[in-house]
């Protein structure tokens, strides 16, 4: 199927995450011609993951541009474009190559509104695939979302399903401020689900409750929700009903959904692929300690990647948290008294 050729508005029987992203971009570009796409190999090649497949043919080379190989530029160009009234959506080919762009994000995109007191703004989206699990070469598998969540003035959004990728990307594009949109590439083609291509955004700045339960709260985002939900299903077989929360927008964090859930369950495990220390789980655990301590019936646990350099593919599965680790932590937490 050529995702770009599907009719906007039609209800497709199934899309994977890449196709959902492609449809969201298409829908946004049809509705708003101030949207331009920038990035390496996003034109005729449709992006190395095909997220922009067919878009240059449809919207032309002015609106879908291949840039030279230069990540500082890919983050910096949109700042200029956005300040001039465009809505750039730029793609960093892999998160591993985003680091030259950090200067632009920290020093410019994130603070243009603040430093000009709203005279100039920066409605840009920077998309980047991230995370492990696809046996990719060196530097292609890390999860460094916490670094971005540390930066004041940007939003950090991570979808965990095709439908949320579709709706959240539309929300990110419509948003008047900069959004770092991190796409868990392990999920790109993992699963298809019906996605209504109606151009409707999903709310950012909100967690999504993926499963109701009253015994324990499992908090995660991105690719690790797969293992988290698997663990929740297995826990159900053991008589433990887990509530599963997809954080989705790391910054700003919707802590109240998490606090409400933990208020009900009294127990919480946070699961992420990124290294433990300074990972975004630390922020959630700290907020629970600050704001939810009296509701807690057990210590908060974190299941995370090790504090090591991400191994090359042969040992990758020994780095990424697996269902067993999630289950072990959840069992300990659920049975703690």
């Amino acid at each position: 199927m050529n995702p770009a050729s599907a009719d906007p508005g039609s209800t497709d029987t199934g899309m994977n995450m890449v196709e959902a992203i492609n449809h969201a971009l298409t829908s946004a570009m049809v509705a708003d011609d101030s949207i331009v796409l920038l990035g390496e190999d996003i034109g005729i090649n449709g992006g190395v993951f095909r997220a922009t497949d067919g878009l240059q043919a449809r919207f032309g080379k002015d609106r879908v541009r291949d840039t030279p190989l230069s990540e500082a530029l890919i983050a910096g160009l949109p700042v200029g474009l956005a300040a001039m009234g465009f809505r750039p959506v730029a793609e960093i080919q892999f998160m591993g190559f985003i680091y030259p762009a950090i200067d632009q994000i920290v020093n410019h995109a994130s603070r243009l509104r603040t430093r000009t007191r709203g005279r100039l703004t920066c409605p840009m989206v920077l998309r980047a695939p991230f995370g492990g699990g696809i046996h990719a070469p060196e530097h292609h598998s890390e999860s460094m979302e916490a670094m971005f969540a540390h930066i004041p003035g940007i939003r950090v959004v991570i979808p965990s399903s095709p439908a949320r990728a579709y709706g959240l990307l539309l929300a990110a594009i419509a948003n008047p401020d900069p959004v770092i949109f991190l796409e868990p590439k392990r999920l790109y083609r993992a699963r298809r689900e019906p996605v209504t291509d109606d151009g409707r955004p999903l709310p950012m700045d909100h967690c999504f409750k993926l499963r109701e339960g009253s015994d324990i709260t499992l908090v995660s985002w991105g690719a690790m929700l797969k293992e988290t939900i698997e663990a929740a299903d297995m826990l159900a077989g053991e008589g433990v009903e887990a509530e599963v929360i997809d954080v989705a927008t790391l910054k700003p964090l919707d802590m109240s959904t998490i606090l409400d859930s933990v208020g009900k369950t009294g127990r919480c495990v946070i699961i992420h692929e990124a290294p433990l220390t300074g990972g975004f789980g630390a922020e959630i655990a700290a907020r629970l300690a600050c704001e939810g301590l009296m509701q807690l019936l057990a210590p908060v646990e974190r299941v995370a990647g090790w504090d090591t350099v991400m191994p090359l593919p042969r040992l990758e599965t020994r780095y990424l948290p697996n269902v067993e680790r999630v289950l072990a932590a959840a069992r300990r937490t659920a049975s703690y008294s």
Partner: protein, 357 residues
Amino acid sequence: MTRVAEFSVDRIQLLDAAGVLVGDSPDVARDRNRVIDMYRWMVLTRAFDARAIALQRTGRLGTYASSLGQEAVAVGLADAMERDDVLLPSFREHGAQLRRGVTMNELLLYWGGDERGSDFSGARHDFPCCIPVGSHAPHAAGVGLAIQLRGEPWVAVCVFGDGATSKGDVYEAMNISGAWTLPVVFVASNNEWSISVPRSAQTACETLAQKAVASGFEGVQVDGNDVFAVREVANRALEKARSGGGPTLIEALTYRLGDHTTVDDASRYRDDEEVGRHWKQEPVARLRAFLTTTHEWTREDEETMIESCHAEVEAAVEEYLATESQPVESIFDYLHEKLPSAYAGQRGMALGEEGDR
């Protein structure tokens, strides 16, 4: 008006596409054994490449970047280098790495997702592959500075692609190397493509070599499918750097005959006609033609060599496939010289021990 500066860029070719010497014949071309030696490294590189792709296709190697068509750049450069010079490759210089003593098993381990592939048994000072494009160029300047500070006669050789020349760090590295007269040779291996982006979309410059001009040193173009010319130009640049003359940028004109990597499909963005045209320029056939006409290279010689290259590759593949994965604690044990005690808990958990958190 006064003209304050003028620049030009030369292109050097010694062996044309038909394998006929043009211009001055380099000494090495007259030495049959030396030519055969270079030819063998190129043939071996190509045999390795084909086997690596086959391994990837059958799930026994990770994503692999083929060097098909670019063997002369790698081998010509490495042939000109001294053992103690330092190579800083990007990820398509398999021929140079092999020629400098990296083993095929090590290359397979790296591309198969095992860190031991970057722990070279030979070429101990050479840098590992650099995947973040162009980010190794500043290291080359650092290596050059170290060599300069110690007063040694060695040179840092940094190879990157045409795409990499658009990156700031590449320019920053060239700029400082010019300013400090560092012993560095930069090699832009211009294979005309940066995945799907053609060279013409990277820069409005007529040549990549001229990017040296803004850094205050010489840039030169060479026919990168002509191993004699690559070797010659590299020799000159290396000698200049060795004797305190500072850096050079060599733009090697070559072509990526294969896909960008094993996960790319080049037919999406370039046509067969273009690729076919470049097959007529490729470096291995060119050198074979030269050997045949000049050094009585026979069909039997050719067959014997190909057979021995395949045997060498097969032996390496067997060794690679028989290599057990590293133990899980290796994830931790190279993080620091001595693992700080703070990591003991996580290391234990990774090993499956019940660690405290």
